[in-house]
Assembly symmetry: C2
Homo-oligomer: 338 residues x 2
DNA sequence: CGGCGTTGTGGGACCGGTTCCATAATTATA
DNA sequence: TATAATTATGGAACCGGTCCCACAACGCCG
């Protein structure tokens, strides 16, 4: 078994208190004893037990992070951002991947509670039955601050860092219209999710503002997945009258759209122009020049961790919602080449 | 502050021991008392402190996982596999992303040690100065089993689950030759890493076995990144005599290669055929039909976690190295259409 | 009906740290 | 040089659980 503080004390012929003082350099310790203790620590390769310390301190130094899918670059990037700040500030992360499964989310919440996390960052999956909400409320009631990162729900009662999906969709739509498209459509995400809904609204408002006629059949109701997007796009492309450009609500859906086009031998942007949401790094790297709405996901992670830390330091803060405005990256796929 | 076992004991008018027995259903507890205790637990929303339990138990129930980059699907998938098994078996994961930084790896190792992890899964970054190796040895000496997942190093002294890069490259090369290519090249990863080296060997041996002449200038020394791959490929494509097919050592490098081709207006596989390593899900989804060597990364994660658990149960096991043979997924990009 | 095994419960030590308090040793001050 | 202030160290309680052991209550058997 690993060496304990007692072993060190004995070997250095001091008390545990003294060793503890050396470890945290608190209180008075004679230089001579300090070096002696440090020597013993070195020699025995002693590393203090974070567990025991946490118990005594009542501070776990741990932040819980819940995401729907680590595999998705969208979330992986947020995690990167969170990690960076956590590292700097000396917090440990307990990361949970819920696989978009509400039940797993419940279990995770329970587990994190047992781990005595000091704060929680969560990108929530759709809250069936609102059990999550209860849990989050319980957390806050027990002085565990919660920060929401984007995600499917938005409870005003919690701090949150959000992406302005409305604005992103709005900007993209305007860009398409400005590029000269007279008929523009949208491929939406699952409308039960808040972001998808907001993007749709942004799209519609932009259309209205520009006085462009919006056809009901040009609103393709997808589900964030590539499969559905593929079918919807294909069907749409076979109509005689159809939009010349599309705003596409997620990177996965862009892929589905492209497959449909590739099967029909159609080219971007000649046969169908588009602007997507999220990065499409892979495609741009191979020179496909996909225009996108860049959501600044890493920044979402950083800001939310920072926010959490601030609240940890001062529980009385007003709840705050930071909303990040996405930037448009136009790379060519939005062009109107008719 | 959260309720403690003492609070429960008092409220239920029993001793802490009894509450503990209910919690772990161990020992004797009268049915009547049990329900009473459970009721109190429910009412006070009590959740036992994993920290205190760990201290007492001397069991953290935690496994450390170190990867170079969560953002890379290659590692993210391994994590998925690890997570699945860990969940089933009731282990918590402490995940560390080292950003390919050796120093961070050192710090992480130290931190995990303080957390009293019971075992370690590591995809190691190149071990400059071998400090990592020391650390890993120290772990094992202190009864913390270590399992290596693929990665840049391979120390026979530790358990490990590896991908057979040699075989993968070998199979891919044979496939290219069988497809009718007379001149085949390779885009290697950083040769200081074991996998890159093995892939190169697999390639060379396959060439020799088939009696295909291998030109030195057809071995393009890359570094896993897309940028270098782009330049190397472009240069190569401008030569009058050049290979008609390439084995490409990583997904990132395939992207660089494609950019080069796209800029030169060249087509796959007419102007240059290829087989890549790792998945290229994104590209295949849009109908690009990229042939690849599928490395079964999720399985690597699962198997290594399982291995770790077995060793946790029995420290005396012989060290074992599982080597997974990759499968070839031919989708068309390897064809010889001349 | 006394002794014995089973069932049920409480007391207290322990896990490995931190921290408060008392006391000892040293130095400064009057 | 006696006394106060400062520096240095140890003792012991505590954090919130687990678990061993002692003991009480109960039923059963001879």
């Amino acid at each position: 078994m690993p060496a304990t503080i007692k072993d060190i004390a004995k070997a250095a012929k001091v008390s545990r208190s003294t060793v503890s003082r050396v470890l945290n350099d608190s209180g008075y310790v004679k230089e001579e004893t300090r070096t002696r203790v440090l020597a013993v620590i070195e020699e025995l390769n002693y590393s203090p037990s974070a567990i025991a310390r946490s118990l005594s301190n009542k501070r776990s130094n741990t932040i819980g992070v819940i995401v729907p899918d680590i595999n998705n670059p969208f979330f992986a990037e947020m995690i990167k951002g969170v990690t960076r700040v956590a590292d700097e500030e000396g917090y440990r992360l307990l990361l949970v991947d819920t696989d978009e499964d509400n039940e797993k989310e419940q279990l995770a919440l329970q587990a994190l509670q047992e781990q005595r996390i000091e704060g929680l960052l969560i990108v929530s999956t759709p809250a069936k039955g609102k059990r999550s909400l209860e849990h989050l409320r319980w957390m806050r009631a027990h002085h565990i601050p919660v920060v929401l990162l984007d995600g499917h729900i938005k409870y005003d009662e919690f701090d949150g860092v959000f992406i302005d999906h409305y604005q992103g969709a709005h900007d993209a739509t305007i860009a398409l219209i400005k590029a000269g498209h007279k008929r523009v459509g949208i491929l939406t995400g699952k409308l039960s999710s808040r972001p998808a809904m907001e993007r749709l609204r942004g799209f519609q408002d932009a259309m209205a503002e520009c006085g462009v006629v919006s056809y009901d059949e040009d609103i393709l109701f997808g589900d964030y997945g590539h499969e559905k997007a593929y079918h919807l796009t294909k069907e749409m492309l076979l109509r005689e009258k159809r939009p010349s450009a599309l705003f596409v609500s997620s990177n996965q859906m862009v892929l589905g759209m492209m497959r449909a086009m590739s099967e029909l031998g159609m080219k971007i942007p000649q046969d169908l122009a588009f602007i997507g949401f999220d990065q499409l790094e892979t495609l741009n790297l191979i020179g496909m020049n996909c225009s996108t709405v860049d959501a600044h996901t890493v920044e979402v992670g950083e800001l939310s961790m920072k926010r959490l830390i601030r609240r940890l330091e001062n529980e009385k803060l007003e709840t705050a919602h930071t909303v990040l405005r996405p930037d448009l990256s136009l790379r060519g796929s939005e062009a109107n080449l008719k």
